[in-house]
Symmetry: C2
Subunit: 244 residues, 2 copies
Amino acid sequence: MVAKVVERQMGVALWRQIADRIRLAISNGDYDATGMVPPETALAAEFGVNRHTVRSALAALAEEGLVRAVQGRGTMIERKDRVSYPISRRTRFSQGLGRQVREIGTELLGHAQVPASGEIATALGVPPGTPLIELSTVSSGDGRPLSTAVSYYPAERFARMAEEYAQLGSVTKAFAAHGLDDYVRVSTEIVARHAEAEELSLLKLSPGAIVMETQSVNADLEGRPVEYSRTRFAADRVKLRIET
Amino acid sequence: MVAKVVERQMGVALWRQIADRIRLAISNGDYDATGMVPPETALAAEFGVNRHTVRSALAALAEEGLVRAVQGRGTMIERKDRVSYPISRRTRFSQGLGRQVREIGTELLGHAQVPASGEIATALGVPPGTPLIELSTVSSGDGRPLSTAVSYYPAERFARMAEEYAQLGSVTKAFAAHGLDDYVRVSTEIVARHAEAEELSLLKLSPGAIVMETQSVNADLEGRPVEYSRTRFAADRVKLRIET
DNA sequence: TAGTGGTCTAGACCACAAG
DNA sequence: TTGTGGTCTAGACCACTAT
């Protein structure tokens, strides 16, 4: 093998040069056989640097979402394309992804009946304390986790929300089962931040990964709010498309 | 001083415990006198750990956007509130920020006339190679950089765009100076990612900081595209509000 | 010049996954 | 048991800022 040259004392940190080399090797497909980056010790030997220097490089690539390290197993290469998730007056999760993914997966993590807290009560236009159904879900496309959400519905009107969702796998269909055939997106707020521990695990992300969090309200055609949702999208796998 | 207790071998990494302590101290206002976190060596002594362990903790906080390290000077505490930037059919930068900031700053970094490349030509609905005016700008609120943008305008129709913008400090007013009194947002795409080197410097961010990048098209009331923009918002300082 | 953060090395040990 | 990534220490030197 040709020795990999890294320039010392040349104004560019070694770990940056090594990160660039590994990024290039990945895009060249050098590691396609295994889908893994070589072990840290191997890379350290290859580049003639300390293992910690390689770790700095890999940490940078993990932050970019290009690789994902798993203790005991190795450092895997991640896909880097994004599906486009449309947000419009009629936002529907499954329809929106359409032909971008072959298979859409929805999982109900849990559900509960909870009293409306201040912020959520305001969003839903109900008195604080009103009983709400809370659903926690994870959605994926072709097996890749795309988003996780916590959603709230007025319990009186949508009493069987959890059961219907678990069975039908769709909020739209669960609404229909309660006699609500149409609803519209009223408002959406978007922030981007680093994923928290729970999100890392639910969305299978590396520490330092980014999530886009949307807080949204949907209402029926009379303008009565029917859903408040807090959705976190894996920023490396999803882009949002606003349709105005 | 009371020795700060960090628990070793208790399943939580020292650097995480230290990050939590520093985060708490910041929110308690312990460092308000200087607006700076103590030097790394001082923190290492305070917690009884190696300086590198403190560096891991500070790196995590920098990624959160809570602090910003500057070589030779120290580690400064950052503000953490976000202004809300509305995106609607009639999106206007200055109006949108309204009363959230006292003073809006716009700076024209540079301008050029360039031929339309494939993607931009498609977005603007012009043949590739059509002359476009390119504007590079940075906008800030109360002195904090909020966003940086590169925008393109058909050169034939908006010949004096750069000069008008430089003088008026507003795209809306520069359009008006060309006889265009109204325009609407046609499409917006949003991705979130880590800031690149140029963005770090323009927006005064720490390495690892997040930007939300929007790609948008505005059109006149006849539907003719008048602007294609690529805007990067500092994610720690801005949230996007979609009005549907 | 002194003080600060940035980089790199060397070595040790731990936690987790796979055989 | 072996190999992997994760954490921590110790020490050195560099680059930049303030004085």
